[in-house]
């Protein structure tokens, strides 16, 4: 691909989704956008980039952004965050929200639904601990196509074998031909909405817990900061943020800090879980 063509895609993706694509990842453009070019009747990516230089069809732009931002996922991906949700976050919320009996969780890049459904199954499995509670999941993604898939809750044999224990498959899925559909009970716990993380977040409401895993890695630093600070504003002082294993808040924002002894979980600086000796600094000494 010619450098000026690469730049057309790079600029478009940055502007529309915050995705940063570097020259060494240009092979991703080829593998993911060739089907899009075919769909829109362009001979190749170079021909498509000519169209993008003019006033491009918004449908084409959307297809390109979706093709580049759709990520691989699996049920209970990385396992640890789900253990932490069960062992640390749920017990905390059971105490702290006992009067309202309501917890809101946002899965900020839910892709084909495996993350919110894994969390819903986890909550369902622990329902005995929380009679009468409502745990709401809002799952958002940039891609409408992927959300349609998530809403349907229909997965291939390959997908239901990655990360999903067999007892949960038996309990919460039904076989439909070669595929497996997640039960209505689980599906109705999750609400799906298209959302671009670059857009103002306040309309989504407040959340107790936010999962934003393996998204920030695609953003540049100012975008990361903007997204993280937007999320900080949606959390109560005792809220939690989950980031992916390769992601961090260090050097990006001071609104969050990592929770002690837990990888990938972040708390608000100065919030209810922050045990840093801030008061020791603030207190006058030697009086």
């Amino acid at each position: 691909m010619k450098l000026q063509d690469f730049d057309v895609y790079k600029d478009l993706l940055m502007k529309k989704s915050g995705l940063v694509i570097t020259q060494d990842k240009s092979y991703l453009l080829d593998s993911r956008l060739t089907p899009v070019a075919k769909k829109w009747n362009f001979a190749n990516l170079d021909a498509m980039s000519v169209a993008l230089r003019g006033i491009p069809d918004q449908g084409l732009v959307r297809d390109i952004v979706e093709a580049m931002t759709t990520n691989e996922t699996s049920f209970f991906r990385d396992q640890k965050p789900f253990d932490q949700f069960k062992q640390t976050i749920l017990p905390h919320m059971l105490k702290a929200r006992a009067s309202v009996r309501k917890v809101r969780v946002w899965c900020a890049a839910s892709s084909s639904g495996q993350e919110p459904y894994s969390l819903s199954m986890l909550v369902k499995e622990n329902q005995a601990l929380m009679p009468g509670w409502s745990v709401e999941f809002l799952a958002t993604d940039l891609s409408e196509d992927i959300l349609a898939q998530a809403r349907g809750g229909l997965y291939s044999q390959f997908e239901v074998q990655r990360g999903l224990p067999i007892n949960l498959l038996m309990k919460y899925f039904r076989q439909e031909g070669e595929k497996w559909r997640i039960s209505e009970d689980i599906r109705k716990m999750v609400k799906y909405e298209t959302f671009n993380l670059l857009d103002p977040m306040t309309r989504l409401g407040k959340f107790d817990v936010i999962f934003c895993r393996n998204v920030l890695i695609y953003f540049d630093e100012p975008t990361k900061r903007r997204v993280l600070e937007g999320m900080a504003a949606l959390l109560p002082p005792d809220g939690f943020l989950f980031l992916g294993g390769a992601e961090t808040v260090f050097g990006i924002t001071e609104r969050f800090k990592p929770m002690e002894n837990t990888r990938g979980v972040y708390i608000l600086s100065g919030g209810a879980h922050d045990r840093a000796p801030a008061s020791a600094v603030a207190q006058p000494v030697g009086r």
């Binding site: 990385d78 390959f158 074998q161 067999i166 007892n167 038996m170 294993g245």
Partner: protein
């Protein structure tokens, strides 16, 4: 080192499964049917068994039922690896004492993820 017994009547499948198990850090034995697997367990009880369903002489499910009656026969974690991919078979396997169930075809990712779910392997941080 933990040990894994690979039970399948196809030499090709045994070879693939063995390679995956070895990559995951297991020492491996092979058996080509349920009877041979039973004899292997009598000689030495493995930590993990990857088990096919349809085999000559003794099927995987027959073997599993006999295994769970053996002394120390509840020690191995048993992971079915079979082309039988319907709920009835899955339920029967779990009732008989299987710990996990893989529907063929499988790859390393699936085996690793199932081993983690069955508590055979620690989750590696990715």
């Amino acid at each position: 080192m933990k040990s894994c017994l690979v039970v399948d009547d196809s030499r090709v499948v045994r070879k693939v499964a063995r390679r995956i198990a070895e990559e995951l850090g297991f020492s491996c034995e092979e058996a080509e049917d349920g009877q041979k697997a039973y004899e292997s367990c009598q000689a030495s009880m493995p930590d993990v068994i990857m088990l096919d369903w349809n085999m000559p002489v003794m099927s995987g499910i027959e073997f599993l039922e006999k295994l769970r009656q053996m002394e120390n026969g509840d020690h191995p974690k048993v992971v079915f690896c079979t082309t039988e991919n319907d709920m009835a078979h899955i339920q029967r396997a779990i009732m008989a004492g299987a710990n996990e169930y893989i529907m063929k075809p499988f790859d390393r990712d699936i085996v690793e993820s199932k081993f983690v779910q069955a508590g055979i392997l620690e989750q590696t941080v990715s």
